[in-house]
Chain length 271, copies 3
């Protein structure tokens, strides 16, 4: 896939301004909304069990993040996912810290039956979800991304979802095709919520396409776009406070020329 294959997905987000319903964690709500606005999408954080179903009929995509899961939120997520599926709205699962914590891990496994369109996590999380044993201490990925590639393919085949493992190298697979991307900056790990917002960005990209067959490419485009914006922002700002500002600015302004010039596909594993 070349930049010319991927950038049209960016344009589609900007043109269609997909409404992305986020059920996410308390730490990143604000940053996630600002990332979605920066890329041209429309964020909506409707949280009550009384409303989430109704909202799924209007939204173009749903983004579910388990970072600060509790019982009331788990009920709202179930209701939202059911309504999304009923309405044909694609939804993205971000299984934050799944593996070491029993409550969310069990819940995440249940959610796999509800057919997410995309699952995006770090290596530990994807290995755990695929049924493997990952070591991890919360949100940090201690397993190398590479080691998660097998797990991602297993998980994709099992769930029919596109699976993205992000880290130093990012892999995106639908079980058959795999692509490896290698943009980004270590500063992206020094600002809270960059990964969580990436999942919402994937939801925006998936929500802007009409055809399930395009979900894999849309996910690749979302990750390429975000990591390139991060890489360019790291040229603007070397420290995390100003980097976060520059990252939003780059997400709002990155054009096709800069995108194409910066894109690194380090390795095409297959497809």
């Amino acid at each position: 896939m070349l930049a010319a294959d991927l950038f049209p997905f960016v344009t589609r987000v900007r043109d269609r301004a997909p409404l992305v319903h986020c059920l996410t964690n308390l730490v990143v709500t604000n940053f996630t909304a600002n990332v979605l606005l920066a890329i041209g999408a429309a964020p909506a954080m409707v949280v009550a069990r009384e409303e989430v179903g109704e909202f799924a009929a209007v939204a173009n995509a749903l983004s579910v993040n388990l970072g600060t899961l509790d019982v009331p939120q788990s009920r709202a997520i179930r209701a939202a996912v059911e309504a999304a599926n009923a309405a044909g709205t694609p939804w993205v699962l971000d299984p934050v810290a799944v593996g070491p914590l029993a409550f969310r891990t069990e819940f995440a496994f249940d959610l796999l039956d509800a057919k997410p369109a995309v699952i995006r996590g770090n290596a530990s999380e994807i290995i755990s979800l695929s049924g493997g044993a990952a070591s991890g201490r919360g949100v940090d990925s201690t397993a190398a991304t590479d080691a998660a590639l097998d797990a991602a393919q297993v998980l994709a085949l099992k769930t029919q979802a596109v699976v993205a493992v992000t880290g130093e190298t990012d892999y995106v697979t639908d079980g058959r095709r795999v692509i490896a991307l290698s943009n980004g900056s270590p500063l992206m790990t020094r600002v809270t919520g960059v990964g969580c917002a990436l999942s919402a960005t994937v939801a925006a990209f998936v929500g802007a396409v009409s055809d399930r067959d395009e979900f894999w490419a849309a996910t690749v485009a979302a990750i390429a776009y975000s990591t390139i914006a991060g890489e360019l922002a790291a040229r603007d700002a070397a420290l995390p406070g100003s980097f976060a500002v520059a990252y939003l600015d780059r997400l709002a302004s990155l054009d096709e020329a800069a995108f194409g010039k910066t894109l690194v596909r380090r390795d095409i594993v297959s497809g």
Copy 2:
């Protein structure tokens, strides 16, 4: 109304540092608190039903925002509003996304009986609250602001509240007097929470005056001050990440000369 009529309200906020109790949505708590601090007010986000009543006796104003309403918060809001009314504390209603979502819409209509001092929303929200049928997809206002002016006047007369409809043009009416303001920048819609924080700013301005008769002018001043700060911030920064930073800086530093020079009353409809 001239800048010379409006700026004294800004000075009063800075001098009195009104304590603004916010029951707002999960996305904008941080930004709202920072906006209030920037204008010289004192934010306080007490949320528990056990505490909100007690707090209303101390606060100078209460700001209620329905963006991420759920059942526990609806109970806390009711308790806070009752206590505010008992203590004579003015309160502001921001009816986020009222119209398309039944749970919050019904709740918002109930709240109208509890006599808000000010209601601030976009065109869709104000039309819905006035009893009209608005189209909308969540937080975006799809009806033009102009179309909401009639609705605002109906709502103001019905509730005895000052009603502000914000958008490209902002209208503020008490049912009798109407003023139209035309400052701001499209970048204000690219940062999440600018509108929600504007409602809290209105609460600060209303909380800094002693007399109910001044609520209309105080609301006009709050909106003029915020939109002028946004317009000037857009001269400092053209992209949303740095715009959000510049907006807070301008809110903290805008003086009477720059305020007067920038103020645009595009159209005085009446009054």
Copy 3:
């Protein structure tokens, strides 16, 4: 204590990247996480009663903040504190707005029995917790820091905790030793969450040392580091929006030379 005694605690945080479990208020979650990342610690905001105990076994420190306490969070805090004590994980109490509000005040007094390693608050809060009568209107400290010094020593002796009173001058005492620090900037009070994030920073510093005897010095180091970063950030930025960005940048980059050159111990009261 000289800079040479304090800076090694900074280095230890950077080397060990302590995992800090935060149960904090809704306003400051994002900023707190970014502050922890900036100083080199690893934030984790696990909030559900179902998970907090499990997490305490993994975390290096726990930070408890009562800013937006409600009943569900009070249960999660109890479970987290018990598990932290069982696992030998030190925990820090930030008694936001304790005094004027009965629900949180009663809860805070209960928590004192659960042996916090450090208590950090403003003058009003510390006076209230020590059993005195403080005046206050929420989160602002209206009592002068100096007046709280006696209260801090009483509280430290009663609870065996290190007690830090922050304000224009900061005092840190274990009941026996007292140190006064005088760095910082008024801008630190114009950005929401700076004080709350300071408590989480204290947790990170305490979580990076092995020995309870070092908690007092680690707390002094945390406060010195944060206030010096704030003082230097105020040289970079004079207004609150850009100050918040500069503060994170300084927290991420402050080195021993700048730390030593800026440190002001205005007054060593004892020790």
